[in-house]
Symmetry: C2
Subunit: 161 residues, 2 copies
């Protein structure tokens, strides 16, 4: 009659575990969010990965490619593929560092800043839309859970390197 008995029955399928079901929902929501954001950004001719980059350049002017890749949880080679595109479009600038000639410091151009602000408004509008007026406290709770998970998973990452 207690919890242990109930959970020791035959139905040990993953989708019967609350945590599993919950995580599947999170993953699907992320997926849908990406797809919807892709559609809403289409007229600006950028995609979510580009926006991630632009937002970080907006916040952290002069960041390096390495730091940027680490923040976005992607490989350095990914930045090497995407950043030249944004540079050619005149949205960002890459300047070599005087002290360390390996480093390229990134910053937004005026045009890049304008486009980033426009895109960020689209993203925040989408986030507000999709949350459908859910209470802020729920968001805070979710953020805490997610940040705990991120910490755990990042620790596993470090240990492998």
């Amino acid at each position: 009659m207690n919890k242990k008995q109930v959970s020791n029955e035959h139905h040990h399928f993953p989708w019967d575990h609350p945590r599993f079901r919950s995580w599947i929902a999170v993953a699907r929501a992320c997926q849908l969010m990406q797809q919807t954001l892709t559609r809403r950004l289409a007229h600006l001719d950028i995609k979510p990965p580009h926006l991630d980059i632009l937002i970080n350049l907006y916040r952290f002017d002069g960041i390096t490619q390495q730091e940027l890749a680490r923040k976005l949880l992607v490989g350095r080679s990914n930045m090497s593929m995407l950043l030249p595109q944004l540079e050619k479009r005149g949205l960002i600038e890459r300047r070599g560092d005087a002290r360390d000639k390996r480093i390229l410091r990134l910053s937004l151009t005026a045009a890049g800043r304008v486009l980033t602000e426009e895109a960020m408004e689209i993203q925040t509008a989408l986030i507000d839309d999709s949350h459908g007026g859910a209470p802020i406290e729920d968001c805070m709770k979710i953020a805490e859970s997610m940040e705990r998970m991120i910490a755990v998973l990042l620790k596993e990452d470090r240990e492998l390197s």
Copy 2:
């Protein structure tokens, strides 16, 4: 001194909005989860997309490629690329339907079922690990929030078609 005054100041940057910060955390957690799962599944020679397919075949035997693609929120062409691989490896079977010759009905082979069970254990273990003993009620609350978002975003999807 009240909340309204505080939030009406100059700092209308997205990352000052609780919902925005919360969603970024969700997205990053998903990303990390995928990467970690990829590593933990490597020795089975499958990746998260394959596991998604296998789990759905495990649950819904005889599903069609179309239905599978819809459940996974991916395009039909994606299934056309991945399923032949799994079929060649002897993990799944594709049989034509008698009544509707367009349809291919999918099912797991014995080997596929074994591998799926093994992979599902890895995934549930990872989910449990990463949640670090967080209370089940929190997971349920998160699941509810995410499912509400999914409903909203899916509705926008339908309206576009």
